[in-house]
Symmetry: C2
Subunit: 483 residues, 2 copies
């Protein structure tokens, strides 16, 4: 029975001296044969455990190396050391598990993020990744709290799907058929997926939106929060093959409501973490500041991490139309000096350099861009009445964040059956396979809107990390599926 242990976070927070406690955790450092910095993952702050001379024998002292797990019983006493108000004077110490100092990969020194990516099974034990994954937890909890408090229903949309109509990107096949060519075939030589597990060709989902809409047409307000997949061969610091996405979908919301919801949501998430994980954010703020110091002045970010987060919670997001965004780009000194790699004109799918210019140089805050050209957006987005720049637009919205780029993509959905069917026909989307989706427009259709927030991009934004592989426990990327 171990459940009489006190967690280090609670112990340091209460700071009540004189109490007898049992603490367990992993040795971070041990100095002067006397002071153990003990960590149990509940906080980055280590508990100082003091061992009186003679409490344990020499053999045990030698085994107290970084990574060793121990159980300590002792008394909480005021601490004379800096950075902590209390410490534990050990009365007994038991080694639970050794950690051979010659073999343990995590030494009490700074390791590179690249090295730690290779050791993802151990990196949780470092200060940086301890803070990141506690923040990730807090963000996930805040997601549920936000929507629950507003009466949304959490809908688990399917992961395996036979639908490939969303067209959001390359998909992974899910199958139990043999791969060697012996899979059953149709008369025309194609694979007979009727013999596959689900009786049809199936993939991993790229989005829960279409199924989410089905829920919204009954519960009014739903959200999804689950894994989504892209089989894109993108080996960048911004892409994962497997990532988590949050997709609210709301009946009776128009584009305006959708923007309000997304902005409230993002601000709520950031405030929640600042209220509940300030220690972790302070650590990450300092980590980023040190990283920035290594860079040439010109490349440094304008804001520190906490400064940036406060700025986002304290200011309304800028809202502009796509047409206005293009005009800003065309009018920019950057454009006139031909500093953009990709050209700018009405109709382009803005590149990352364009989005970053708008957010980081022009507005210096999150920007919501609305009313994109219909030609570059998905079939389910609502066609706007009237035209901009003489062209058809849709009621889409993307939220662009400093340092990240697109963090939210959403739209009001096309609720008018005839317009939706016409658009699907234009885009060669087979209506017969999507009959269930069209049923929502046949029976009690309502205006509705929703968006997707890439969870890892949000974690990047809040932690100040720059590589998306560092904010998910075990990254899946091309040629990489370890652990």
């Amino acid at each position: 029975m171990f459940n009489n242990r006190t967690k280090i976070k609670a112990l340091l927070a209460s700071a009540e001296t004189g109490q007898e406690v049992i603490v367990m955790g992993w040795v971070r450092t041990f100095r002067n044969n006397q002071f153990i910095a003990l960590n149990d993952g509940s906080t980055n702050h280590n508990l100082q455990v003091v061992i009186a001379l003679g409490l344990v024998n020499d053999d045990t002292l030698k085994r107290l190396t970084t990574g060793t797990s121990i159980k300590v019983a002792g008394t909480v006493v005021p601490s004379l050391g800096k950075g902590q108000s209390v410490e534990v004077q050990a009365t007994t110490l038991e080694i639970l598990g050794d950690s051979d100092a010659d073999k343990y990969p995590l030494q009490p020194k700074k390791h590179s993020l690249e090295f730690l990516r290779e050791k993802a099974h151990l990196r949780f034990r470092t200060n940086t990744f301890g803070a990141i994954f506690r923040v990730r937890h807090a963000l996930a909890f805040a997601v549920h709290q936000f929507f629950n408090s507003r009466g949304f229903v959490y809908l688990h949309t399917p992961i395996i799907t036979a639908s490939d109509a969303e067209g959001a990107g390359e998909m992974f096949r899910v199958t139990t058929l043999p791969m060697d060519g012996s899979a059953p075939k149709n008369d025309d030589g194609s694979i007979n997926y009727g013999e596959d597990f689900f009786g049809k060709s199936t993939n991993l989902t790229v989005s829960g939106q279409l199924e989410g809409e089905l829920g919204a047409m009954a519960f009014s307000d739903i959200y999804t929060f689950g894994p989504t997949f892209r089989a894109e061969n993108s080996n960048t610091a911004r892409h994962l093959a497997e990532f988590w996405m949050i997709e609210p979908e709301v009946a009776f919301n128009d584009l305006e409501d959708n923007m309000d919801l997304a902005e409230d949501f993002i601000q709520y998430l950031i405030k929640y973490v600042m209220d509940n994980n300030l220690e972790d954010l302070e650590f990450l703020d300092q980590r980023l500041a040190e990283e920035e110091k290594q860079k040439p002045q010109a490349e440094r970010q304008e804001f520190g991490l906490l400064e940036k987060l406060r700025f986002v919670t304290d200011n309304k997001f800028e809202r502009i139309t796509y047409t206005e965004a293009i005009q800003i780009l065309l009018d920019s000194p950057h454009y006139k000096k031909k500093k953009f790699k990709y050209d700018v004109s009405w109709g382009i799918d803005m590149q990352s350099e364009h989005e970053r210019y708008l957010v980081e140089k022009h507005f210096k805050k999150p920007v919501i861009v609305t009313n994109y050209p219909a030609a570059i957006k998905a079939f389910y987005m609502r066609l706007n009445d009237g035209c901009e720049a003489g062209k058809q637009t849709v009621a889409a919205m993307d939220i662009l964040a400093p340092g990240i780029g697109e963090i939210v993509g959403g739209s009001q959905r096309e609720e008018r059956l005839e317009k939706l069917e016409a658009r699907m026909a234009d885009m060669h989307i087979p209506a017969e396979e999507m009959s269930w989706y069209l049923d929502t427009r046949r029976f009690g259709s309502v205006p509705h809107a929703g968006f997707g927030l890439g969870f890892e991009r949000m974690v990047l934004f809040v932690t100040g990390m720059t590589n998306i592989r560092d904010v998910i426990p075990f990254a899946r990327t091309p040629k990489n599926c370890e652990f």
Copy 2:
């Protein structure tokens, strides 16, 4: 801008008369050309909207059929009808979307669950499925609230995995290689998965436990809540190919602590739903009672739904060893009368009929069975010191629930490197591929324990439904992957 609507649940709860409101939703019924029962999914209780003679024209009246979506502005007034204290006297009514009464599949009558499974995209709009999926939401939120309040870190363990060591069942392959035999091959004719997306053979996860243990060795307390998969050709009311699982993993916990955690957790979930979704549970309680009435007396359940849930929250779970369980079965009149289909002896993997006998006939409450034979359990379970019935056992625990059978499976984990390696060798599990897992036993190993709760089985238990396809939005089963 629609965000000035009042949700029906809030309106009925406040019951404040005299206020002007805007409500939107779907018509459930319309009678006497005067009374609309309006539902927006926030509650099963419909709002009565009263239309004065002449407010809308005859054409509009005819369009007010089941499933039609409307927007109503009006005044909240006391209701004379039964079952509600207030209703809305409409001042304006706008039809948002029609619902052709001849084509709409959901008529204002009772549909079979089988029929509604075929119409899973619309069944959310019925009372039964409205209640089920609000309860499912509440349970999911309660999961996060329970663990968050205890300082656990929510860990998103990977969905796509190259590890197949858990051996929990058949797996789905994830691939981007062609299926027709043209996939690249090795010299020996086998498929060269080095050319597949991840550079190796990959599958959908059957459990996040092993990765969860990595997290627990740093954060002490973690949990997962994500989709898991089994490619088993089981077409039963209890099996899904895709389902959600919750897996806490706790450093410093032994089997006893693990049982305490699981029992607290299950009781917390049930209490949460009883506190927050009593209306939905009352509806489901009544639904079940009506269903039971159709059965012969002998087959009826002993408890009503709410009665059963209260019984579980108010009573400690029974805790017995596997050896005791076998003895109870051997001593039972049922066994002596040869009523079990499968034989009973020490060493068997208990069948559903055995588990149900223990839970439903013998103890009449949830039962935790511990210390199973090592031979029928997974390699990572901790070997018990000493033997029972002269045989090796492991520190496993299964929780069996009335009407459901196994709802939780867990164990204390083998933290001793040598014993774990020996067990893996015995079971032909390749240690070199699992080096990352063994590292947790090499560096600061600690006693730890965890369990898995099948989320859909929990939803079945709490809603009183009997087919698992009815408690997940879109079921994935053999030959079935619709929507």
